[in-house]
């Protein structure tokens, strides 16, 4: 039996409100504003108050998928990542690195964005990196 609240930053808009995710026995059961956060100052918008809800939605993807004959089939991580690695490598070798493009994500963390652009630039060798900032 465990109840705790975890201080984090809201995943919706760019305000970056500090909030607490309420965790009961490993499940998210709520979100509430952090009173001592410099941005939210103890308030949130409707999205912030409900930011925990989508996380445990039953439609979450839980397994890697590989499309075969137009249908997605569940795969292991090894299968999926090996497929991606070998296809990207092959395209790079046959067509050159600039035939591959990457979209990083305004929804992911700084660390992840850093790594993906590093993957594009250092591993694939292309500067074809962008994200949906303009949209």
């Amino acid at each position: 039996m465990e109840y705790k609240t975890v201080l984090t930053t809201c995943g919706y808009c760019g305000c970056g409100c500090g909030l607490y995710l309420e965790v009961l026995d490993g499940q998210l059961v709520g979100a509430q504003p952090c009173k001592t956060d410099s941005v939210s100052q103890g308030g949130l918008c409707i999205k912030g108050w409900n930011v925990h809800e989508f996380v445990q939605n039953s439609e979450r993807l839980t397994k890697p998928l590989i499309k075969k004959d137009g249908q997605f089939k569940e795969a292991t991580w090894d299968e999926a990542l090996d497929t991606v690695a070998s296809r990207l490598k092959k395209i790079k070798e046959e067509n050159g690195p600039d035939r591959i493009a990457f979209l990083t994500s305004a929804k992911c963390t700084n660390e992840e964005n850093y790594l993906l652009q590093k993957l594009a630039r250092a591993v694939v060798g292309t500067n074809n990196v962008d994200h949906c900032a303009r949209l």
Partner: protein
């Protein structure tokens, strides 16, 4: 943002243009109200009658896409009345002469003809903004999503520089970032022309620095923007794409085109938490995790780097995104191994001057504003204190250009798009949140009641909206927020996606599509 969120509260005058702040950035909207309660003057310029307009000292509804004209009109008055900051202009800027020449043509009377804003209101805005002790400009996509997006932004910069309303507390030019970590994605080099920290890829020295840090050879040729990638995909010049947690199928302009482009790829990988419209087109889908299942940092719209903390374990067999990327890289022959995300940010600090002093132990309790070049640096809540990044601030002489597509006989109405308070971006998260989806389940088209009456449309009835790109069926919502010639559709709803209608015309520099203006026609649906 040049200035921090907290500073808004102490601003003496806030000019909000192209931002429905209380719906899209609610907690910044509430700061604006707090400033108002402390006596700040509020100027709101928006084609829609947004909530903040109720509290505005002056509210103007300029015709869609006439921002440059409106701002030039304001600049014109300030110059003519001598309300500008001569010292600031002399010491901190250049290009004033050319700029002045262009602006002189934009008298309030001329601008009234273009924008529909009364000359006297333009004078009043100029007065309030220029003569307050500290004025802050706040804008969002209403400014940038135009073919003249860059011009619009430059015009606002002209305004701030002319009045010396920048480089001080509670002033500045403050774009509000739409997504939680757009700022971070840019800072981390999620752009075709720069490495992390805005360091150009075409600069050989930079490339050398990163080659050393990453132990590999790097290309100095700038890459493609998303828009160019899609075009190249269609032409077979891009064969594979890796998309991390983005859904261009709903968010991008002219969806039909996006779909064809993505389908033309030989290989598409999508890493996401839901089977988004984009993921459906993928060859391989990798299940990442939400912000609640990982550690990391986000950089919010005020450039503050804040902690994200793991609250629960990844759902099912999904894996943390950073961990997936490391694994993939390793499998591609470039081993990436980090004990935890704090180690990644340490590497970022090594190669990114603006993040040089940002470490997890420093942002445990409170975030830090970049630039923060070293461990002793307290962070920078506002930018351009004594100099601009380029040295002197450059005035741009900017002429007004109309939107690419204007209403005509066949498509007689303006369409503009945006967000509503309940939903976020393409709705992949908010529409799966029961409390949010319950609040607003479907899209709607806001129409002025008198215009609706002329068309015989009643509240809640289903209508068809057509543009030259496509058509959608949607619920009509009669609202005084809209002017007669304009309708508004939120872009969150895939089944009535506003972006089936929007115009794929782009700002030539920033490549931002003109989401905010296009021409449409409306018809009743006869069932």
């Amino acid at each position: 943002m040049t200035n921090s969120i907290a500073e808004i509260e102490n601003s003496k005058c806030i000019f909000i243009i192209g931002s429905n702040t209380s719906e899209a950035h609610p907690l910044i909207g509430s700061r604006i109200l707090k400033a108002k309660e402390k006596g700040a003057k509020l100027i709101v310029a928006d084609p829609r009658k947004i909530q903040l307009s109720f509290y505005a000292d002056i509210f103007v509804r300029h015709q869609l896409g006439t921002d440059v004209a409106l701002i030039n009109g304001i600049l014109n008055v300030i110059l003519k009345e001598g309300w500008y900051d001569r010292k600031f202009v002399e010491e901190r800027t250049e290009g004033f002469k050319e700029f002045r020449k262009v602006v002189e043509k934009y008298t309030p009377e001329n601008v009234e003809k273009i924008t529909g804003v009364r000359a006297q209101d333009i004078r009043k805005i100029a007065d309030l903004y220029a003569r307050s002790k500290s004025s802050s400009i706040i804008y969002a996509m209403g400014i940038t999503q135009h073919i003249t997006g860059v011009d619009n932004v430059k015009s606002l910069c002209n305004l701030a520089m002319l009045c010396g309303q920048i480089g001080r507390e509670s002033t500045g030019v403050n774009p509000l970032r739409g997504q939680n970590n757009v700022q971070g994605a840019c800072d981390m080099g999620g752009l075709p022309n720069v490495y992390p920290g805005n360091q150009p890829v075409s600069d050989g020295q930079m490339a050398e620095k990163f080659e050393k840090a990453w132990g590999t050879k790097l290309s100095t040729k700038p890459g493609m923007t998303l828009t160019e990638m899609l075009k190249a995909a269609m032409a077979g010049e891009v064969k594979a794409m890796f998309i991390l947690g983005e859904n261009p199928m709903v968010s991008d302009v002219d969806i039909q085109h996006v779909e064809k482009s993505l389908e033309a790829l030989d290989f598409l990988v999508v890493q996401d938490i839901f089977m988004s419209e984009t993921a459906r087109l993928a060859d391989v889908v990798l299940p990442g995790v939400s912000f609640a299942e990982k550690d990391g940092t986000f950089t919010n719209t005020e450039r503050k780097v804040k902690r994200v903390r793991k609250a629960i374990e990844p759902i099912g067999s999904s894996r943390q995104d950073w961990d997936i990327i490391c694994d993939l890289s390793t499998r591609m022959g470039y081993p990436m191994r980090y004990d935890d995300p704090s180690k990644i940010l340490e590497e970022v600090a090594q190669v990114t001057p603006s993040y040089g002093g940002i470490y997890y132990d420093r942002i445990e309790t409170e975030g830090l504003h970049w630039p923060c070049p070293n461990r002793a640096h307290p962070g920078t809540p506002y930018l351009h204190k004594d100099r601009f990044s380029r040295g002197l601030g450059l005035f741009h002489a900017i002429e007004y250009l109309p939107p690419e597509e204007l209403p005509d006989k066949e498509y007689p109405y303006f369409l503009t798009t945006g967000r509503i308070y309940v939903h976020y971006h393409t709705g992949t998260m908010t529409r799966r949140s029961p409390s949010l989806n319950k609040e607003v389940e479907e899209g709607f088209a806001e129409i002025n009641p008198r215009q609706a009456k002329e068309l015989g449309i009643i509240q809640g009835e289903r209508i068809k909206v057509f543009s030259r790109r496509g058509e959608i069926e949607i619920k009509a919502d009669l609202s005084e927020r809209m002017e007669r010639n304009t309708i508004f559709i939120p872009f969150h709803f895939v089944e009535s996606a506003a972006n089936r209608l929007t115009n794929p015309a782009f700002d030539p520099i920033a490549q931002i599509p003109e989401f905010k203006v296009c021409a449409v026609k409306i018809e009743k649906v006869n069932h």
